[in-house]
Symmetry: C2
Subunit: 362 residues, 2 copies
């Protein structure tokens, strides 16, 4: 089987940090081995820093980001609960599906794809929702939704935020913004392969934890006895050891560089992309003022075929970019610049390739 | 962080094959990259051989074995369905919990821990159950439950089998035994780190697939469009790429040795352990005739303290064995000999250490 070296500039996975790839091949320990428990504890400490939180229940769910979404809903939403969901892309839409399966009465607050949701509309959608849920960084559109105003004015509601594509790439201030429940994915700005979903739960949310949620695998009541137990840990499920090594190494790399410095690197890369792409004829698609530096959406120049263009980029240049989804499938590309990928030299490589592909096809 | 080289002789994880550790650090591909799709397809072909099945829906769930259990129940059990569950250990007990959360009316067929369940009792427990569920290899006790008679006489019921600790270690004849739904874990006899749960679904079971199960992440309706889609695959969630490489390499190693030869190696190791352990004063605990070669339970010699003994084995000898669970916590040890660990030289290393520990503590 071939596994070519790709420059991963799609919506994720990004290229992992070299330290992460090295950690993956470290000897496997048992999930109750004191050495592994120490590594898990340190990973969770690192995560608290990256999440900017003091939440004790902060750890990686043993599955990918979408399982983090499911854990975030099923542990807190009871049948009949009113849940307000902001929908301006694939992941807001997915939240509605997940919340509905948990029995929620979903109140959708929709916005055009490619535009940010006005927080005031979320706050006014229902007088007393159990939960308000929104995506911070919409991977399907490259839009950043504002979170801080929601935390300030949430009232009795819990605030649930999808940070899959934001954590580690742009500021996520869990405690300052009043976020109660948030989850992310390992394979975006953290520079780790896919497979884990860091989650963090506020002490306030813990008071609303459902005693027996519909999911056994994602039941935080039981998982916390393993993650937070003193001394001996209660076995729940076997932790994905090697992926934990990878996440630990990724977080160590991020914090070694400095969290603010990592945010700044993602921002510089985004700024550079946003400046250069229109000059090549790839116009920025997402609403100005709400563009993510780590995930840029562009409309395709006249005559550039979506599938053909991406195929050439992948096969000839070894560069992956993502296609558009939903209403803009075939019309936009999603260009990720996350984790270890977020380097100016990688962007230059992409820009050179885009220039050549465009002059060939258009 | 220290990650010592351990000889993993507990109930799992086992030591991964060297080929697997190498595969983990191969370059990460995107989950829609044609090279990755080809690797996934080949992995699923390998899995069909290891499962001894022609089931088209055969693939690894993107999480550990317990998520496989949850996927197996939530996709097929509707509220009010009668589910007969065999319970003679931790994992049968867990099945009841998972089935109950899916709304099942559970009929438990209990047997003493350390004894096999009479298949006839499962068949006679209810006149017309929707599903009969049993654990093939009970990791908590070292017992093998018979499966073939269940498939022969299941009538209209679906037969669901937990093969977490059996797949790749002892014969699992999915099609011949009439199994409809089965799942396993990567970290046992397949010699891969924890993180994936191979699952296989019969065409008969597919007719009973629930259109919108309570779990979004484990919804087989959507996952099958990614796993089985022709040409372009429908994105559901981001596959855990590096772990897939590991599983692919583990299966290639197993099939390179030969499936029957791998079973025979596990059997020889088990036979050797079962012969040698009693001579050292560690009596075999599980019922004769139903002892698993890959997971052996022994009672501790008089005077040997459980925690102290395991601590010395781990810290001085670098060997992990597992403690007892439930009614035999503190009284038995669980000695795994699975995957790459299943070598006579590893058993000799354990036996030498056990001899020394016993003479020191007893």
């Amino acid at each position: 089987m071939t596994r070519s070296e790709r420059l991963l500039m799609g919506p994720g996975p990004s290229n992992p940090y070299p330290e992460v790839m090295k950690a993956l091949s470290e000897p496997v320990l048992g999930h109750l081995d004191p050495e592994f428990i120490a590594l898990l504890d340190e990973t969770n400490d690192y995560l608290r820093t990256v999440w900017q939180t003091s939440n004790s229940l902060t750890f990686p769910i043993s599955a990918t980001g979408s399982a983090g979404m499911e854990a975030a809903f099923v542990n807190f939403v009871k049948p009949g609960d009113c849940v307000v969901v902001g929908v301006n892309g694939v992941f807001g839409t997915r939240m509605c599906d997940v919340a509905t399966r948990a029995g929620a009465e979903v109140v959708k607050v929709e916005e055009d794809w490619g535009r940010a949701i006005d927080p005031q509309r979320l706050l006014e959608a229902h007088p007393d929702p159990a939960l308000i849920a929104v995506v911070h960084a919409e991977t399907s559109t490259g839009i950043r939704n504002d979170i801080a105003p929601l935390g300030e004015n949430k009232g009795g509601a819990l605030l649930l935020v999808d940070c899959v594509t934001s954590l580690g790439g742009i500021p996520v201030l869990t405690d300052d913004w009043g976020i109660d429940i948030a989850y992310s994915g390992s394979q975006k700005c953290l520079g780790v392969p896919p497979g884990l979903s860091p989650i963090t739960i506020s002490e306030r949310a813990m008071e609303h934890l459902i005693p027996t949620p519909q999911s056994w695998y994602l039941d935080l009541n039981m998982i916390k006895d393993y993650v937070l137990g003193d001394g001996a840990r209660a076995y729940h499920h076997t932790a994905p050891i090697s992926m934990l090594y990878a996440l630990h190494a990724g977080l160590e790399t991020v914090l070694g560089e400095g969290l603010k410095e990592t945010w700044a690197r993602h921002q510089s890369c985004g700024d550079y992309l946003h400046e250069q792409l229109p000059e090549l004829g790839f116009d920025l698609w997402a609403q100005e003022g709400h563009r993510l530096p780590e995930l840029t959406t562009v409309t395709l120049p006249e005559g550039l075929d979506d599938a053909q263009g991406r195929k050439i980029l992948l096969e000839r240049y070894g560069i992956e970019v993502g296609g558009g989804l939903g209403p803009v499938a075939g019309k936009v590309w999603r260009i990720g610049c996350m984790g270890h990928t977020a380097r100016i030299e990688n962007i230059d490589r992409l820009l050179t390739a885009l220039k050549e592909v465009k002059s060939e096809l258009c």
